[in-house]
Amino acid sequence: MPPEDHDHFEDHLAAALRHTGGAFEADRHTLVTGGEAHGRRIRRRRAAVAGCAAGVALVGLGAALLPASAGGEQRSVAAPPVTPSLSPSQRPVVTGDDLVRTLKKLLPGGRFSHEEGRGTNSPMPLAQVVYDDGKGEAAVAVSLDRVAPGSQRAAQATECPDKVYVPYDACTRSTLSDGSRLMIMQGYEYPDRRVDTKMWTADLVTRSGQHISVQEWNAAAEKDAPITRDRPPLSPARLKALAGAREWRAAVDAIPVDPFAAVVEPAGTPVASGRPVSGTLVSLLPKGLRVASKSAADPGFGYLVLDDSRGASLVQVNVQKPVPGVKGGASVPATRTLPDGTTVDMRQSDGDKGVEGTVVRTVDVRRPDGSRVVISAFNSGTQHTSPTRPLPPLTMRQLEAIATSPKWRPVG
């Protein structure tokens, strides 16, 4: 991967994926024979409709893989024009060129180049241009999506990200007069700001789940593109106007059937759904520590930023409920084992973000039933900023007392 994308977390994630993915054992014979049988079935079906074969002959595999609608039909650009009576799944494709034209029409006057569009029959419909309002080239992109109204994903799309993990200069949320939710963030391309390219975004989700996402940069945003201007070209007010343009909503409606943005719930089972992990953590803290901020309710994971007047400290906890059929136990050597078989691993590291002077104390408690609590305390207020103090305010012993508390036990 390119050097500018390099990050310790990314290294660890790649290693984690190799570790996890590599553990799945395939029945190759079944896969190979099943694949061939599947291919033959498709061929037989095509043969059965040979009369139409010339019309539906695949033009490269890309065409074969264009997503089909639930009913199996595929709309083409030759479909009849939109009429109000058509349901979303019956509407014709809005092409990438259409989307680019719309974007250019909605932007203030300027020069355009590097136009790129993907229509509503692609997995990720979008329009992108490099736009120059006279003050320097900047990439501007609009991507379209549909989310399930009222879903967690719909809510997350317009929630300001947690500043502990994603730095930004400003983020505002608002509700428009038609009930749409809007989030405008003035942030950066890279969370650790290893390159100071600014990325400003607007995310709008309508009450019916149309999701319009606008991104703009102060660079042409091609790979390794240098910064061309102090800030992206569109002000927050203009971002709002662009995201709110009715033209995008019609295009979202043309996305056949349903979004890829499935509200896929966790494959595992988080601890006591909805129970605020950060709240439990607060209740277990030693006295004298002030909580400067804490995470929103997110089952299974939470954090606090503590301040004892000697410097901020991020403390995060990951709680995992037992999974039926899964045997508990340590996959790394445990520091010690409690009488009931619970293993407790304690370690001190320099973090994974490459920030000089970072000290992270971690206690990892695994119970025989498969449940697990991992708590880490940093000597800094976020994972990506410089230390505020020589050591975290919580000792290993205090962290162990928190992690082994019965309060983490699942409630059933």
Binding site: D7, F9, E10, Q128, F260, V264
Partner: protein
């Protein structure tokens, strides 16, 4: 004629099946049954056009792209009926008492909390080690869209996994 059109296919499929299956398991957040179906569908599509695909520079990369798109198409077909309309949890993967460890489930759980498209980006970028541009090509989208998704997906994974992801890197 038919023989020549499939010449080399069985060897290719046998060589790639294991990796494809593992990719599919990550894409599906650990749903091994769905992963098997997706691999068979992807291989089936490649089988049909093996004559042309076999002449590509990188048929292995190609079939991986087919798998990713097959996954996204599947998510699209099934998202409304399963998650949206009925608002019920998708089928959970069957636990594997012999193989699963709490660590693995933590990562799979985190992957499962990402949207399908974000998962596809993460798997292509960090499991397949594809560049932003290659990932964009595989998903038929722009580099900027992939970058944005990647940044957001990583932020969410950081939130879910916290510092613990580093443990996977241990030998």
């Amino acid at each position: 004629m038919r023989q020549s059109r499939t010449e080399g296919y069985p060897e290719f499929a046998a060589a790639r099946a294991g990796h494809l299956y593992r990719s599919a398991c990550l894409l599906t957040g650990g749903d091994t049954h769905l992963a098997e179906d997706l691999v068979q569908e992807a291989l089936g599509r490649v089988y049909l056009r093996w004559g042309r695909i076999s002449r590509l520079d990188n048929p292995a990369g190609y079939v991986q792209t087919v798998l990713t798109r097959t996954f996204l198409a599947h998510q699209r077909r099934h998202s409304s009926r399963r998650e949206r309309a009925t608002d019920v949890l998708p089928e959970l993967p069957a636990p594997d008492p012999a193989g699963d460890t709490p660590l693995r489930l933590t990562l799979l759980e985190a992957l499962g909390r990402l949207s399908a498209k974000d998962r596809a980006v993460v798997v292509l970028r960090y499991w397949e080690d594809r560049s932003i541009e290659e990932t964009a090509a595989a998903l038929n989208t722009s580099s900027a869209a992939v970058r944005t998704r990647c940044v957001r997906a990583l932020a969410r994974l950081r939130l879910f996994l916290g510092d613990t992801v580093g443990e996977y890197a241990a030998p």
